[in-house]
């Protein structure tokens, strides 16, 4: 059965810290892995990764995928209180279905 496991479940840091969030997966016919940020409302898209070893960056956020070891990490440097959110990862398959499989998320709280 396909599954996504995120760790840690929750994390509390201080502003300026660097955090690393983990997403491991077991899936047949892997196509892509996506990261989302969810504050009070709907998830907003951060990154989509399809190729192993290629880092995607957006400001203080970056992410990389390891298709051999079946995991992805999301790094946030110089954290700010506005980074407080639940971070979700999800994967899609390359054939047979349009479903996205989501993990349960990592809740990040950044203290001033």
């Amino acid at each position: 059965e396909d599954k996504v496991v995120q760790s840690p479940l929750s994390l509390v840091v201080h502003e300026g810290d660097t955090v690393t969030l983990n997403c491991s997966y077991e899936v047949t016919n892997f196509r892509s892995l996506l990261w989302y940020k969810q504050e009070k409302k709907a998830p907003t898209f951060l990154f989509m990764l399809t190729s192993s070893g290629i880092e995607k960056k957006s400001g203080r956020l970056s992410s990389i995928l390891d298709k051999k070891e079946l995991f992805s990490i999301l790094n946030i440097t110089a954290t700010q209180t506005g980074d407080s959110a639940v971070y979700l990862c999800a994967f899609t398959r390359s054939s047979g279905t349009y479903k996205y499989i989501f993990g349960t998320g990592t809740r990040l709280k950044v203290l001033a």
């Binding site: 709907a42 898209f45 999800a90 349009y98 349960t104």
Partner: protein
């Protein structure tokens, strides 16, 4: 900007009522999805649709049905609401694989309480 809208932000219904949740997207996306989100359980897929009048069951379809009569609109129906359907309901849409960016865009969510 992609916009996905949901008909209500908050909804309170009684047990046994028929409930309609509406979702509209303005990006001509083929795929549309309904999820529910509960603490500790994450996002769980109820139904999705990849074309008008086409639908497929997700992981937890029991007690729900859907309707997609127009490309931009995807409705979730609770035939007879029960208290265990109290949840946050999220609608999302995306292009078909190979037709455009594949990430999902989410609506703001409907928090449904069934009493």
């Amino acid at each position: 900007d992609v916009k996905v809208t949901q008909s209500s932000r908050y909804l309170v219904k009684r047990t046994g009522e028929k409930v309609f949740l509406e979702c509209v997207q303005d990006m001509d996306h083929e795929n549309m999805f309904w999820y529910r989100q509960d603490p500790g359980l994450g996002l769980r897929l109820i139904y999705f649709s990849y074309d008008v009048k086409m639908k497929e069951k997700g992981d937890i379809p029991e007690g729900y049905s859907v309707s997609r009569e127009k490309k931009e609109r995807f409705s979730l129906i609770l035939e007879s609401a029960s208290t265990n359907q109290t949840s946050m309901y999220l609608c999302a849409s995306s292009f078909l694989e190979g037709q455009g960016p594949y990430e999902q865009y989410f609506g703001p969510g409907t928090r449904l309480t069934v009493t």
